[in-house]
Symmetry: C2
Subunit: 432 residues, 2 copies
């Protein structure tokens, strides 16, 4: 389309592409599941605007396939590829190092970068965007959050006119797979093993089940949607590993299920953010998500709730986001960069909570627990004790009306001193 | 951000804005619900990149408010505003005429246009985009489909890397309001009156309930997502007015509800598209939509299903889309214009159907109906006859396995000759 070329012809990058009428030259850094999907889509779609020219991977010989264009240079020499005439580095190695170094060097050289690296963007996105701007390149990372669901372009291009005040997301497919299988009756250890066998979970699943992966993605979305730049380390994640079959059973009785939710809100300049397993109403969109699906709900001051859902992970969906970013670069599309400002996680959510106790039963326990809550002026919504559990290891649940996390924490600290408690109470936020 | 200015400095429009470092000058054409919302958001957000300079409306005196910037020119002279130094016309009048003329003249003059006018874009989008390109302006219409839900930017910027093969959408808030209230037990006439009182429906509701509004939006999405340019008139809509309380009752027994759905699919170069009331599974995302909500489900060859939902209509959500388009223009963001090609609606859906008959009961009716279906080799899935209806006006339902619409149409034409039939059978597609 003529206007696309005309409109993009002034940028360093696009000037090369448009004025010489040659496609953007693309180097893939990383030829795993996502990288080979990206190559596959580029080959099959015969896009005229982008051309795959280099594939970098360690021990590249074992990665080599026969279906890429014959002129693609396969390399295990990152320096050589970075020094070549490629226009865009697609960084799919993940992690801060060495991926961060490659990205910086590419941007320093005025090249553009497309990446799926949530950690790098969560921790260094602002600095890297500044570097790209200074050197005339572009940094795009639509694949870093929610894979194939266009949440980032949706926010940047379609919701820039709103003021997003709140967001909730299911941002980690591994946790969602595990929890939705546990909802259906499976045991954590069994599901984790299945997830590992299917390639949904790493050998060390801490990054996913501990909430660190979702936290990085939340920090990215907070910058784009809430327009606050936070240190991801300030968001304290709660692992999903403390959730048991008992909790799913009690949740069901409360009309809920359990999902790993990342949530953040901004009001009056104050920011709250957290990641962890939460009770979600069976009738809410969050409960619809199954398997490795992702979902993001954004609440705008003007537009109300917008829901995005789909496949958040996997080679093909993530590759769709990468290729879309490449096409956007080739067509001269630019970020709608609304200003964001540094912020601390200083606010608390004031939401209802689910608290599950495991006790060696004796008279007076409920009175003590409810007394401790009352001293912090926390109102009880429900006390549920289901039959069928042994008295010496009795799980029961208290739900409370919206209260500050800090008040509840004090009450639980006092309750934790009771010697009948067999383990720390499990405290989960309830999403309403 | 420096790169935004640098990257957009070659376009006529952005060159003005960026090189002189002055904001884009905006003229609103139409100061109704959406127009005043746009003005409100621009005033409240204090966006530095865009400046509201003109408001055009017929009899503008009665529209005047006291909260817009003091230097805004209020005018009822479209020619004068078009001849002024505004950079962008925001067309919110709707319809083909005179709105289309204003849009053409603005584009002819090299100005850009942001519009919420689905009809204009459905019928003349391709031509207007060519005109914009030729004259150095830009045409944006994120608000034309699904109001505050960023479906259009999501497709253009985030799914360009996929090949969308199918789409289903709830694209008309009025129909969704009516049908979701009917699901809850209300009568069509009563709900329509409520919708009219609330401003959700026009005095003449044909455009909405007849499916013409959804058809225009579907045609726009088909161009962007399926990359086919169709004549909207080739899509034959089925009105929702034939749906009665009886149908909701039968639908419920089948685990379904009824929604107005716009759907299209492309396979092997052949395109199918239709709009009408359809049975949707209670467990499907479509059934979640309530009130005036919109929803779009896109199925990509690589990325699978992506779901967008939210408020598709109303002043504020639509205004969010308009302001987002304005900010995108101001930041030099360009469309990712993937090629689309003219196509005819030549294919048929092969889907299950729900057929409701209303008969003056006598022996042998079911045998005759099932015989007629058998002659077209259509397999019956279920025959449901609920008790409690009078024999002389007996509704009953047949559902059939996936079949071609044309075969079913032939069978129903033969069945319609039966003298026991009190009205034409109601034939609804079932969404699976």
């Amino acid at each position: 389309m003529p206007q696309e070329n005309a409109s993009s012809s002034s940028t360093g990058l696009s000037a090369q592409a448009a004025s010489a009428r040659r496609p953007l030259r693309i180097a893939l850094f990383g030829f795993g599941t996502v990288g080979s999907s990206v190559a596959r889509i580029l080959v099959e779609s015969k896009a005229e605007d982008v051309e795959l020219t280099h594939i970098f991977n360690r021990n590249v010989a074992r990665k080599r396939v026969d279906w890429t264009p014959p002129n693609v240079v396969w390399s295990e020499d990152a320096d050589a590829v970075l020094a070549s005439d490629v226009d865009v580095i697609v960084e799919l190695a993940g992690g801060l190092d060495p991926a961060g170094g490659w990205v910086r060097r590419a941007l320093e050289a005025g090249k553009s970068v497309v990446t799926a690296n949530k950690k790098l963007i969560a921790y260094h996105g602002v600095e890297l965007e500044r570097l790209a701007a200074a050197k005339g390149g572009h940094l795009k990372y639509g694949a870093a959050v929610a894979g194939g669901i266009p949440v980032i372009p949706g926010i940047e291009q379609g919701l820039a006119g709103d003021r997003i005040e709140r967001m909730e997301g299911i941002l980690n497919g591994t946790c969602n797979f595990i929890l939705s299988k546990m909802e259906a009756g499976a045991e954590y250890a069994t599901v984790l093993a299945t997830a590992q066998a299917k390639g949904y979970a790493e050998a060390d699943p801490t990054e996913d089940v501990g909430g660190f992966d979702a936290r990085a993605k939340l920090a990215i979305l907070m910058r784009l949607a809430l327009r606050v730049v936070v240190d991801p380390e300030e968001i304290v994640p709660q692992p999903i590993t403390a959730v048991t079959a008992v909790d799913f059973s009690y949740a069901r009785d409360l009309g809920c299920t359990i999902r790993q939710v990342a949530r953040a809100e901004e009001s009056g300049g104050s920011v709250a953010a957290t990641v962890g397993p939460m009770l979600v109403d069976k009738k809410s969109p969050m409960a619809w998500s199954r398997g490795t699906e992702n979902m993001v709900i954004l609440t705008g001051h003007y537009g109300g709730d917008v829901v995005f859902s789909g496949h958040g992970a996997g080679g093909h969906p993530t590759a769709v986001a990468v290729v879309s970013d490449l096409l956007a670069l080739a067509h001269g599309s630019r970020r709608v960069a609304v200003p964001s400002a540094p912020a601390r996680i200083g606010a608390e959510f004031e939401v209802p909570h689910y608290i599950r106790f495991l006790v060696d039963d004796r008279p007076g326990i409920v009175a003590e627990i409810t007394g401790a809550l009352a001293r912090e002026r926390i109102n009880i919504r429900a006390i549920v004790q289901k039959p069928g559990y042994p008295a010496h290891a009795l799980p029961f649940v208290v739900t409370v009306e919206p209260c500050k996390s800090s008040a509840l924490k004090r009450a639980l600290a006092s309750i934790s001193k009771m010697d009948c408690l067999l383990e720390e109470p499990l405290d989960l936020q309830m999403l309403e």
